[in-house]
Symmetry: C3
Subunit: 154 residues, 3 copies
């Protein structure tokens, strides 16, 4: 099975490549959140502020910060959109699509989600973020349609 996926199935290799890229992109949000928490001194767990001393002096760093919250919203939006892509994308890759169609789906989704992250964090004026969200959403929907058309067994 390893041999099959490694050498014979280019669609699966494309799926693996783009899935790894978008999941790594999603993981990057954790690092950006940590960066803003440290630079903005905005924490949520009391044990995380222990290095600032004890008692009242450290308590003032238990607060929310607009930049931290913005990254967290982007991270949650990634979870809501990348999870369906990974799940439906696997089924789509195994449903036997043309390599060219599959690459088109994977490339547009990956590009849209990377743009979405920039649009959220800079932030860009709307409808930049909204459009990139809608494009990624449509790609996943199109893959789901192909999966159900090919594999349907209720």
């Amino acid at each position: 099975m390893a041999k099959l996926t490694q050498f014979d199935n280019e669609v699966f290799r494309a799926y693996a490549t783009y899935t790894a890229i978008v999941l790594l992109k999603m993981m990057l949000m954790s690092l950006i959140t940590a960066y803003f928490r440290v630079t903005r001194k905005a924490f949520v767990n009391p044990e995380d502020t222990a290095t600032f001393g004890k008692g009242e002096s450290a308590k003032k760093y238990l607060r929310t910060d607009p930049d931290v919250e913005r990254v967290r919203r982007g991270h949650l939006n990634d979870l809501e959109n990348i999870v369906p892509f990974v799940g439906i994308g696997l089924l789509y890759a195994l449903s036997g699509p043309e390599l060219s169609s599959a690459l088109l789906h994977f490339r547009i989704f990956t590009g849209a989600r990377i743009f979405h992250t920039f649009a959220y964090l800079i932030p860009l004026p709307q409808p930049g973020r909204g459009l990139s969200w809608a494009i990624g959403y449509s790609v996943t929907f199109s893959m789901a349609y192909n999966v159900l058309k090919t594999l349907w067994l209720l």
Copy 2:
């Protein structure tokens, strides 16, 4: 490999069908959130209220709304429960169960999660939502038990 999954493995086709359905259902939560944000005029990002003008006149739409928050809780609950179903369900489908057992698991989970969404959004009195949550949870637990029994290698 594509051929195998497409034509020979009915359990995998059933898994693909129900997984696509529950992931599409989860994706629907994004659209419902957007619908309530627009109709309730309750946004979280300043750039999203730019169409309402600048300054104070637009700022009043940066607020939380009970209906929006309810949909968001339903969406997060979907993530918490549908992610384990998709992951464990794939392993279960590949562990060689009877088609009838697999269909029973997939159908009950999908029905329970669709009911859960209605119970959350209408909302229905408890224990409607709690029971449908517990049923979906138990199905995933049962599949995990079968996976570990069949494939266990620690």
Copy 3:
């Protein structure tokens, strides 16, 4: 295909075992949240407090509680880290690694996430939680590197 995965591919069986374990661990967070909601009497949906009577008497239980919020943060952190492990781990298992390397990755990740949960809920002083998070994160990153090295097709 079921036969292949069941009997011939030990790496896939190891992946199935550890994935089932970490997903069950993540599902456990729902039960812990429910436990704290009931014992701390801290709910978020009005329909969940109906058993405490109607009107003002029940409304006082619609509140946040530090213990409930702590479990919920741990649960979200699981979603953010276990989802990439499950997705990238599957691709890694199918990319044909040595069984010993695969077991090393899966065991360290699973141990780190179980420790992370204890560190979050007790809570342990930092850097306990931070380190266990970083170890799990690094394991997923290492698997992604191996996936991209082996299967890369852009």
